[in-house]
């Protein structure tokens, strides 16, 4: 496919890996003998790094750490629980959501199990599909269980704007959207892991613009490269980051120049800001991060499921299933093979936590591509 295949060729990949090795091992160089931790903050990068063997190709002193970059995985257990309470109570409602959400276990059930018990739960590819579902079911309430980062949130905002324009009365959105830069800040502030630099997500940044990461270099002295998702993009991003470290630079750079600009997509930002405003959000394994979520503005309250229904946190459980270490995996504290359940009680066909459910989850990526 055009603009994908060009970035999957083996020869430049091999040359890039060699270049990274040279930079990181140069005997007199700044990085010789130093352990370097690089965090990728996007599930699509995690998947790409596992799938194309990039982690294994890195020199010994470069550790690639997967961060909380899969929206399904960071959805908190109480947020799953309260949805399950909702579908059990509101028998005539239709819940729509993205596919991977179905199998994420809450503390006592999953959406998949509720669907088998008769709850009406639809999987959508685009939030716009909810408009069709609402139109086809005028006597039912349609609730969109909405997860995703800055890439996805504008598509939901545009759907809400369209719903208002069309005068749709039976559609609402439960916004569990999360924002990337506040999570990066929280991880660095926590200081639990050694992060020397970030690979930032290409499509989040296509929307918010690379300037959003300025605080990393200005306040924390950390370099950051915004990279694309094909294997050569990821490798080139890593090379740029290691090069910065070897030269003691702490800049924000863009590798994915064909899609990412410094300003981002102004129109998408405007639509997002019309509908949503910043709010605190609860992340699985991390807890509440101030200003890291999005709630629907008063002007669109008619489409806000939080306002429309009693959908609070009563009867929801924060503690993870016994033994599940998704929280630690999401923070980059451990790799999946270090979890006692990995590959034993927890497998893609019987996931115990969200990181094994979602195809972009770190555990699923390790299970599929990096099992030893």
């Amino acid at each position: 496919m055009k603009y994908m295949d060009e970035f999957r060729r083996p020869a430049p990949a091999a040359a890039m890996v060699e270049a990274i090795k040279t930079l990181s091992a140069g005997r007199r160089g700044r990085l010789a003998g130093r352990e370097i931790g690089i965090m990728e903050i996007c599930g699509t990068h995690t998947h790409s790094i596992s799938r194309y063997g990039i982690r294994a190709a890195m020199p010994q002193n470069i550790r690639l750490i997967s961060g909380p970059g899969c929206p399904v995985c960071v959805t908190s257990q109480p947020d799953i629980d309260r949805l399950i309470h909702f579908v059990r109570r509101e028998k005539k409602a239709i819940v729509a959501t993205f596919g991977d959400m179905l199998r994420v276990p809450g503390s006592f059930s999953s959406l998949e199990r509720e669907r088998a018990e008769g709850a009406e739960i639809r999987v959508v590819y685009s939030p716009l599909d909810c408009l069709d579902i609402a139109a086809a079911n005028p006597s039912k309430e349609v609730m969109f269980y909405s997860v995703g980062f800055e890439t996805t949130a504008p598509t939901v905002a545009a759907t809400i704007v369209e719903a208002r324009r069309k005068g749709v009365k039976n559609l609402s959105v439960l916004s569990l959207h999360k924002l990337t830069p506040p999570a990066m800040r929280a991880l660095v502030d926590a200081g639990d892991i050694n992060i020397d630099g970030f690979i930032a997500p290409g499509h989040v940044t296509a929307v918010i613009g690379a300037r959003a990461y300025g605080f990393l270099s200005e306040e924390y002295g950390l370099p950051c490269v915004v990279a694309g998702f094909e294997p050569l993009d990821a490798l080139a991003g890593l090379w740029m980051l290691v090069k910065q470290l070897s030269e003691a630079r702490r800049d924000i750079e863009i590798q994915y120049k064909r899609v990412v600009t410094w300003e981002g997509n102004r129109k998408a930002q405007a639509v997002l800001n019309d509908v949503f405003t910043e709010a605190d959000a609860m992340w699985r394994g991390i807890g509440v991060i101030p200003g890291s979520g999005l709630k629907i503005r008063e002007g669109f309250a008619a489409f806000d499921a939080e306002k429309r229904f009693d959908i609070g946190y009563d009867g929801c459980v924060v503690e993870e299933a016994h033994g599940c270490a998704c929280g630690k995996v999401l923070k980059g504290l451990i790799t999946p093979p270090e979890c006692p359940l990995f590959q034993k009680a927890c497998r893609p066909d019987a996931p115990q936590g969200p990181c094994m459910v979602s195809s972009e989850g770190t555990c699923a990526a390790y299970y599929r591509y990096e099992r030893v």
């Binding site: 055009k2 430049p12 929307v207 080139a236 129109k267």
Partner: protein
Amino acid sequence: MCLGVPGKIIEIKGEWAKVDVGGTKREVSLALLEGAKLDSYVIVHAGFAIQTLDEDAAQETIRFLDGFAGGRDTA
């Protein structure tokens, strides 16, 4: 989930475009993108075009990669 795929706009009707994504034609909303043009490439995510793909910048990256490979397996 932030998966986005490049596709070519082959038809525009108001706020909607028909986009060729690897041979599959998709109806894509242009509500989030200013100035989308016929025959240009866009990144499609969840039914929306979220950004234009800058073809000059793509060629620049390809040349950079080719330079790295020392002329082997050029695109």
